[in-house]
Amino acid sequence: MMTRPNAGRQHDGVPGGRAGRTAAAGAEFPSPDPAGFLPLSSCRWGVVVFPGTNCEYETRYVLGTVLGQPVRFVWHRETDLSDLDAVVVPGGFAHGDYLRAGAIARFSPVMEALSAFAAAGKPVLGICNGFQVLVEAGLLPGAMLRNQSQRFLCRWVNLRVESTCSPFLAACRPGQVLRMPMAHGEGCYYADPETLAAMESRGQIVFRYAERDGRVTPDANPNGSVGSIAGVSNAAGNVLGLMPHPERASEALLGSDDGRALLAGLLAVPDAGGTPAFPGSGAGNEAGA
């Protein structure tokens, strides 16, 4: 059920001014964690905002209010990410997604800093449009095509966890099924066979669209992605992108809190028994509408 470890820490009301600010939402950062990014009891998050981004508020809400983490917006013109431990590139239509999803966003000033951030091994998560931007920027392999149906599709989908090489998946186990919404028009993932084979061998294929019981079937593939791929990581595992929206599935009230497992993965702290424990309860395929 819904737990709010640090409820009230931030008020996510009709949002405060943010463009160009360095610390919105009034989230004060605690002292830096000397242990590196994994495992952390607390992680300083940045949420990148391009003109046209439209999932920044709920992403901040889940990280800040639901998971109780310090979080701030990162305006696309910012170039200094040194105060952050992890960055989310959220969903939306960055720069209108004119030309092609993510094609203009990769030229935003923040992207150079984000590349360096990723190259330093720090965790970067791209959700939906954020995934598209990371692919366009070359931080993740492959390319994104229009949905096979040529139509935008908003649906609840099931993702089977294929690999837990990425630190974001520290709280998940292979074969686990996560239920969350997707909403996109250009989510048909493509990579050539050699790239796919290499990704497969390195555990870079992270999620596949599946039935509720975990079977990967053509019917469960909503957009024609090659190999039913819904999410991938880079070779090092610290950059991860997926088309569905974990931030829209982080509270049971909204139909599923499976997404919390992913967002909270970085926070997983192995307990004595070796089972990851993380803020929130319910990764698993029991959660339902």
């Binding site: 996510d12 463009a19 935008f152």
Partner: protein
Amino acid sequence: MTIRTDGRTGNGELPHPTPDTPHPTPMSSSQLTPEQLRQAAYDWGLTPYEYDRILEGVGRQPTLTEIAMFSVEWCEHCGYPKSRNVLRMLPNRSTRIEVLVGADCGGFYVTPELAVVMKVESHNHPSQVEPYQGAATGVGGIIRDIFTTGARPIAAGNSLRFGSLDDAYTRYLLAGVVKGIGDYGNSIGVPTVAGEIWFHPSYTGNCLVNALAVGIAPTTQLVSSAARGAGNPVLYVGSSTGRDGIGGCSVLASHEFGEGEEKRPTVQIGDPFTEKRLIEACLEAARTGWIVGMKDMGAAGVTCTTSEMAAAGGVGMRVELQRIPRREAGMEPYEVLMSESQERMLLVAARGREADLMALFHRWELNAVEIGEVTDDGMLSILDGGVEVAHLSAEFLTTPPRYDLPVEPPAYLAEAWAADLTYAEPEDYGEALLRLLAAPNVCSKQWAWEQYDFTVQANTVAGPGGDAAVLRVREAPPLGLALTLDGNPRLVYLDPYEGARLCVAEAARNLACVGAEPRIVTDGLNFGNPDKPDRYFQFREAVRGIADACRDLDLPVISGNVSFYNESPEGPIHPTPIIGMLGVLPDVSRTTGTAFRAAGDQVWLLGELHVAGSLAASEYLWVQHGRETGRPARLDLVREQALQDAVRDLVRAGVLASAHDLAEGGLAVALAECCLAGGVGANLALPQGLTAEILFGEAPSRVVVSLAPEQAETAARRLAEASVPCTRLGEVGGDRLQVEGAWNLKVGDLEAAWQRTIPAAMRP
């Protein structure tokens, strides 16, 4: 534009534009003779009577620019000359809530700190001409009406009406409209959570696209739409101005479609990326407190915003057109004034804060320029390169004459009411059910609504497909809001007054089924040519029906829209009032859906099982017999209210596992929908025998519920207290929907019939 519910003073009497010292006559941008100017006025839709009135009110020969301004401000779309006297019937107060009235939309205080605003608007004619851009800009316009008040848009909805699905142009319209709504709404990140689609041949030449939006704002951030404070600067922000959409409201929206007319140039083009930046920038600006007033440029663009903001504040305004950013060279002043280019706003800034405000908009990569200032003389003064081209009383310009038009009951009514509704029972009730489930008005609309992002903003507790959408309010947990749009044109066609009451009752019932209490109403009034007495009768009677039902339910109509002239050479549309209704859930987790859930749950019908004559105006008669006739059942609002109160209480108490309102297709379709939503069957028997009337009749005030056996006693007690009749029909379970003696059908077969229609029709 706007239905004034604020009791504005404009009563059609001539104001006194004569200043103390004579004002020099504005320069005409053309060398036209008085006769040519009169002709120009007629070409732009003004009548001889209106033009004479303008001459009298202005007191001199108006310039071409001024005539253009009157033509847009006095058209039905902006000035409501032909509807305002009727709209006065609508209640705009409630005893239960504090109502918020604005020029662009209305709302209420959902908590002392939070305001919720809502409005519906039509974009019918543009969508018929160019479905993708017409629908997209319809969404853009209604969203601007919301954030112009300082409220963040949190939900969108739509009501669509098309001709027959068999018609190729209808399918083109459906595809384009749905894609237009989706592309725009998805891009700006506002979830489209509610809606409905109806098909009927009367819409073949004139589809309807009504878009609704809901917004939420801390009460401290609400922004007025009135200009105030002489000397305050006037800012233009957003997209540049082009020739797109010139005359969109006066030419396109205020006339019937003729044959073979090329009206595409009057349709506007939308840019959702600019709208998204405009939302963020305007909301950020609203938080600064530097804005005195703000209004979006919808129909009639610069003319509408300058004149209406000035009139609302009882002030004047001086504006220099040359400062307005343009996307085309060589535009005449009247073109700049009439342009309906999208994604533009007019702001009045507090003197001294204009530079800060403009910097804010520039950071969002938007145009922001100072184009003039507020004056204290009540006159709207338009300059073009320093030369005055218009000088008009803002009050006079925004006070069109009001007409009381003749009414006459439509000829078809008497015949329909006298129609004999005795038909042979169908040979196979199951086949009749499958036909109904596959009928375009009943079948699944998932093909459409899954093209809309209904989960963005992460507040959607229940999205499209149920009786009403449910959203949580993140700013004030555990509060929730519920939203529905309803409008059954067949009921209104066959009884404009009673049909409209039934639509209001159905909307309220939909909210009750999710555990919400109705709070505010917005109405989208789509009718034919008001100059034809039978059409005007439909309009007046429908508004009277909405007004009476809302008054009886203590619901204020806080905003709305009128769209007349919905006619094509084939005739008028069915009269189509759309009711948008928003309700409140004190605890959003105390809700339920339409889906049957657990095997063994009991299935009950609340309300009368058999209502004589209830096949009148039914989908069954239309699908099975091709008839559209009869007199719709009467609505007893006392019983309706008792039913709704009981259902709402039981949902909130957690007694009910599901609740679903009975509508098109009656009991049979409602039961099938509960099974389809839950993916589970039910074994049922009807105690009063089997007739098409019992199975498919569409009497109002009825709800199908399911509940665990241990809740039966509680439910029965509450229903008895409220004198709500209830009938136990059977149990949930299995994979078949069985109604003893009528049918025994696999849920999978129901699903196939229900899901297939639209995807099959739309397959490329």
